[in-house]
């Protein structure tokens, strides 16, 4: 059993980063995620593990500091919230194009524009469909508890380095701000320069020894034939990620006639609604995607045979529903897929989402 603590989701991101051997954090304050950098500054990990923490002059600078440091084979990360992620998106596209591993955390707030500081899931499309210019994908993990905020930091770094691709934890202001019991991870030492040279010496820019050719980290290739080959290589990598890294949680799905599909905070709401529904004798379950990219398509194929309807519950106008519809269609089923959402920083209540399920499917 690891160390048990009562902590905020944002604080846990910071603690998990230190414990998983993260080398550097670059960030810029924005509500509702400023506790991440505040916790790091309070913990002063440079005295303990040697991890560097720097407050950048902007989100634009922060993501480019991540680029530079990640390009030396180090484990680096940034965190922000929706408007800040928009500013970082140029850099994220470059990072994806240069195939650099790193961890990004988006503690979402309502938009568009300056929007609100209340929780939201309206950045689903931005995170899952790429977000910036060019054909690229982020590996996107959606925690629904403070425990998963802890667990997904190390997981996201592992996936990022396994595929040389940026990984994002897509969470929101509710999970960032809520306090829950969490079992913290054990400490993992930071990689030594020798370990980095052994693991990533074929690409990391650590200074060119006489024994190898120079390493160049770039997303630029003016020859269209070569640039297309680069893109084909990226797509091949994304297909591999889709084949190997789908993750989802099924809650009361086996005998369910109707399923909520929800991630993060809205999945917590739906989980309560499932309990209430079952007490009333309604065969309702919850399918919770954990990886939003790759979307957990395989689990849908297993469920479509006996499910009569999917209701996506999202704190947005209906974004994930497009992936659910596409998945059901690709699986060859005609199961109806509907959406219920609240926007602008409002979290729906369990009774509200159960009412929506009943009105949409059960009493129809």
């Amino acid at each position: 059993m690891g160390e048990l603590r009562l902590m905020k989701g944002n604080e846990v991101i910071a603690e998990a980063a230190i414990r998983c051997g993260c080398d550097g954090y670059f960030g810029y304050p924005i509500t509702p995620q400023s506790e991440v950098m505040e916790t790091l500054m309070q913990r002063a990990p440079w005295n303990e593990t040697g991890m560097v923490v720097l407050q950048a002059e902007s989100e634009v600078a922060a993501i480019n500091m991540v680029y530079g440091a990640a390009a030396t084979g180090k484990k680096v990360m940034t965190t922000s919230s929706s408007p800040g992620i928009s500013l970082m998106t140029e850099g994220i596209s470059y990072i994806a194009g240069a195939e650099l591993p790193c961890l990004l955390v988006n503690v979402q707030r309502g938009g568009p524009g300056l929007g609100t500081i209340q929780p939201s899931q309206a950045d689903y499309n931005q995170a899952v469909k790429g977000g910036g210019h060019g054909d690229y994908k982020l590996i996107v993990l959606a925690p629904s508890s403070v425990q998963e905020m802890n667990d997904f930091v190390g997981l996201a770094f592992d996936l990022a380095f396994a595929y040389r691709n940026p990984a994002m934890i897509l969470t929101d202001g509710a999970i960032g701000q809520m306090m829950e019991k969490v079992e913290l991870s054990e400490y993992v030492p930071r990689w030594t320069p020798e370990e980095i040279a052994a693991k990533w010496g074929d690409w990391a820019t650590t200074g060119k020894p006489k024994t190898r050719n120079k390493n160049i980290i770039t997303s630029l290739e003016l020859d269209p034939d070569k640039m297309e080959r680069n893109n084909l290589r990226f797509q091949e990598k994304y297909r591999e990620i889709e084949a190997r890294e789908q993750r989802a949680e099924n809650i009361m799905c086996d005998d369910a006639e109707y399923l909520f599909v929800a991630f993060g905070t809205s999945a917590r709401v739906c989980q309560k609604a499932v309990e209430v529904a079952r007490d009333k004798g309604l065969k309702v379950g919850l399918l919770r995607p954990i990886t939003l990219y790759p979307f957990p398509k395989n689990v849908f194929k297993e469920l479509c045979g006996h499910v009569k309807g999917f209701l996506t519950v999202e704190m947005n106008a209906g974004q994930m529903i497009e992936d659910v519809k596409l998945t059901v269609h690709e699986a060859g089923y005609a199961v109806p897929v509907e959406h219920f959402g609240r926007m602008g920083g409002i979290i729906p209540s369990p009774s509200e989402v159960l009412d929506a399920m009943v009105k949409t499917f059960i009493k129809r």
């Binding site: 500091m65 680029y67 440091a69 200074g207 060119k208």
Partner: protein
């Protein structure tokens, strides 16, 4: 000694540094970049720091700098090179990192990154090529374009009322306590090349000694963008650019020292 003896390797008094890769440069004949690259490669070679050097290339004509000098390189987004260099320097304090940026990259889209990196006194060297124009995109106005200077976006000449004043960003960074050595040089004569090489060695040594940011502006020509021959461009630069961007050290101090006379 006949001519055959003179060209024997043991009799050579000067050669191309092995740090310049044997590839054809894409730079226009007469462009300052080639000479600036050569000086940079020679300095890295002569100071024996190839194995610890990481270069950050910009967006602009020098975007392909990574093809020419035999060190590890990162290619930055437009203007962001100082942020990349910050990430490298903070997590790799035993390495030597420099940025190589043009005037559009450093003094326009990247003003925030360069000011804050210099202000934090990041241990990095900045090589700033100022030719008063956007070369790569076809000769548009830069923040450093001189008043009245014709470019493709100022066909009637830069109008101060419309476009503001040519920016002396080097004077600004010299004010920042984070910089230890700020100088303005050129590469248009053999004498100038010797001077900038001395200056660059000092700039590198300061970074190795953890004295903070060092900054070398290279007042340069862009004969293609300026629509001149290389010789005309050199003459035009001497007559017009150097009077607005005077050659010499702007600051030579230690990190944190106050600068009052600029």
């Amino acid at each position: 000694m006949d001519s055959k003896d003179i060209i024997k390797p043991e009799n050579l008094v000067y050669g191309k540094t092995p740090l310049l890769n044997d590839v054809v440069m894409h730079y226009c004949p007469g462009c300052s970049h080639g000479t600036a690259h050569k000086v940079l490669a020679e300095v890295i070679d002569e100071m024996g720091i190839q194995e610890k050097t990481i270069g950050i290339a910009p967006v602009g004509c020098a975007v392909f700098a990574y093809n020419y000098i035999d060190i590890d390189w990162q290619e930055a987004a437009h203007g962001r090179a100082p942020a990349l260099a910050t990430g490298v320097a903070r997590l790799n304090p035993d390495k030597f990192v420099f940025t190589y940026q043009g005037d559009g990259d450093l003094a326009s889209i990247g003003t925030s990154e360069i000011i804050h990196a210099c202000n934090r006194g990041e241990n990095m060297m900045v090589v700033f090529i100022n030719n008063g124009i956007y070369g790569m995109t076809g000769g548009q106005m830069a923040p450093t374009t001189l008043s009245g200077m014709v470019t493709s976006t100022t066909p009637g000449g830069r109008n101060i009322d419309l476009n503001g004043f040519p920016l002396r960003i080097t004077d600004i960074v010299a004010q920042l306590p984070g910089t230890s050595y700020v100088t303005r040089q050129s590469v248009h004569t053999p004498g100038a090349v010797r001077k900038i090489k001395r200056a660059m060695k000092k700039a590198v040594q300061n970074v190795l000694d953890k004295k903070g940011t060092t900054f070398i502006e290279v007042v340069s020509t862009c004969n293609s963008g300026w629509k001149m021959t290389p010789v005309e461009a050199n003459e035009w630069m001497e007559k017009n650019m150097i009077s607005y961007y005077p050659i010499g050290d702007l600051k030579d101090s230690v990190k944190g020292e106050k600068v009052s006379n600029h």
